[in-house]
């Protein structure tokens, strides 16, 4: 479990995160949502250790991030997988080399064993016969799948995804969402997704944390989001007429 307690972060005297507390559980896909500038990217970066928080604590399965030394930080980071918004695949490496990179860096396994693992995870994300291709030769959806494969190749305990669906068509976005949820269950990971995509939120958001102006304004599940009376989240999620109608229909049906 990841426990976040009273997390506080400021830049040049301007508070960006103002005392956020929440928990993320194993085997569940949790989503961080909020408007641009609400602090969700900083929140994720604090969890990843790319930013150091000013107050509060982040506890990964009993290990407080602030109490760890450099070696322990590195060990903890090796338990994390990250899917970046643009994929962040290494341009000069092939798909196979990209996915194999963490294995080469952190294990002493023989090449055949590493290749076997690479092929297993590529198959798991439904990619085959692309080992020798470079990232630029792949479609956006395929690049995201390679990024997911690279993120899970080390069997991480914690998977972070930053806008995994941005730039994808709705069908591909659903495929990626389902894939993330499936592997979360399969690998029993703690998955935290930073997203703007309301379809994803409704589809796979087993836990949703809504941030507004650096404060946790609402927390719940994708089922509860239909029924909530919290104005902040209702204004954000149901900002389009389509979603307003969907909510009205859902509330009528469940009366």
């Amino acid at each position: 479990m990841i426990e976040v307690k009273d997390l506080y972060k400021e830049f040049d005297g301007t508070p960006v995160l103002k005392g956020i507390s929440t928990t993320f559980e194993k085997g569940k896909t949790s989503m961080i949502i909020g408007q641009s500038g609400s602090g969700k990217t900083i929140f994720i970066k604090c969890l990843l250790g790319l930013h150091t928080h000013d107050k509060g604590s982040i506890i990964f399965d009993g290990r407080d991030y602030a109490d760890l030394n450099d070696k322990q930080h590195r060990q903890l980071r090796q338990e994390m997988g990250m899917v970046f918004q643009g994929g962040a695949l290494y341009d000069s490496l092939t798909v196979e080399e990209n996915v194999m990179f963490p294995l080469k860096m952190f294990t002493n396994n023989p090449f055949e064993e590493m290749l076997d693992r690479v092929n297993t995870v590529l198959k798991r994300v439904n990619l085959e016969n692309v080992n020798d291709k470079f990232p630029a030769e792949l479609s956006g959806g395929m690049q995201k799948r390679v990024a997911i494969a690279r993120a899970i190749v080390m069997n991480p305990k914690y998977l972070f995804c930053d806008e995994p669906n941005s730039g994808l068509d709705p069908n591909t976005a659903t495929v990626i969402d389902n894939l993330i949820q499936e592997i979360t269950k399969e690998y029993q990971m703690i998955t935290i997704i930073n997203s703007h995509d309301m379809n994803s939120v409704m589809e796979i958001g087993e836990k949703i944390v809504f941030l507004k102006n650096g404060v946790k304004a609402w927390e719940g599940t994708n089922k509860e989001i239909f029924k909530t009376e919290n104005e902040a989240i209702v204004d954000f999620v149901y900002s389009s007429n389509l979603f307003k109608k969907v909510r009205a229909v859902y509330l009528n049906e469940t009366k």
């Binding site: 790319l50 990250m82 970046f84 918004q85 643009g86 962040a88 695949l89 341009d91 860096m105």
Partner: protein, 246 residues
């Protein structure tokens, strides 16, 4: 940000760069890749430029030595000295600052803006050590060889210029290049090249690594990197010459 802050940040960067590589086998792969990208791929331009620069130096010297009291072998002597002392180490380093500096800055800068460096950091990899140290080692290892080659080709270029233009005889030129040979000048040139190689690998890496924004900023960082690398090379050239020859 003022200049002092940049200088401080640059040295803090170097502190992170000079750490033990996390995995020697990965470091070795990176090193060979950098030797190819930064060194072998510069062979063509260095060969081409040094040959013609040597030729031009010889022609210019010949055209300016028209007094019958000045021996013609001085053309070879002047070409040799110019190539060894300045044109090969300094002029070629400026060329490399443009070619390699912009490559280093833009490749690292692109990695920064496309979150590839963040991906390394998230994995717990010291991204500065991983990306910059192999470049420094590759440059320190390969650039002295390139500069020695440039000296040789420059002198050969001068010889061919004389033959093709008929401005001087080959015997005079060969006598001139053998005259008063001082091996310390080669050491001086290699020492300068080692310092310049370090500058060529690190200043563009600094500009690329700390770039913020998008492709436009990467382009700007690349330009800045070439300008500052050239400025630092020229300044260091002055101080090194004073220290080593003064």
């Amino acid at each position: 940000m003022n200049y002092l802050e940049h200088i401080g940040k640059y040295f803090i960067m170097l502190k992170q760069v000079f750490k033990r590589p996390q995995k020697w086998s990965v470091f070795k792969d990176m090193l060979f890749r950098e030797i190819e990208d930064l060194g072998l791929k510069s062979l063509g331009i260095i060969t081409f430029i040094s040959f013609f620069v040597g030729g031009v130096v010889a022609i210019q010297t010949a055209l300016n030595v028209d007094s019958p009291f000045i021996p013609k072998y001085l053309i070879g002597f002047a070409t040799k000295r110019s190539m060894i002392l300045e044109f090969a180490p300094t002029f070629m380093s400026i060329i490399l600052a443009g070619k390699v500096g912009s490559y280093i800055s833009s490749s690292i800068g692109t990695m920064r803006v496309t979150e590839q460096i963040d991906a390394l950091d998230v994995m717990g990899i010291n991204s500065l050590n991983y990306l910059v140290l192999p470049k420094i080692i590759a440059a320190l290892f390969f650039y002295p060889l390139l500069i020695l080659l440039a000296m040789f080709l420059g002198i050969i270029g001068g010889y061919f210029a004389g033959i093709l233009t008929g401005l001087f005889f080959s015997e005079d030129y060969i006598y001139g290049i053998q005259l008063d040979f001082n091996s310390y000048y080669i050491k001086y040139a290699v020492i300068k090249t080692l310092v310049f190689a370090f500058v060529i690998a690190t200043i563009p890496a600094y500009h690329g690594y700390y770039v913020k924004g998008g492709s436009l900023e990467v382009g700007r960082a690349s330009t800045q990197a070439v300008v500052w690398t050239s400025v630092v090379i020229i300044l260091l050239n002055y101080f090194l010459t004073q220290m080593l020859l003064g």
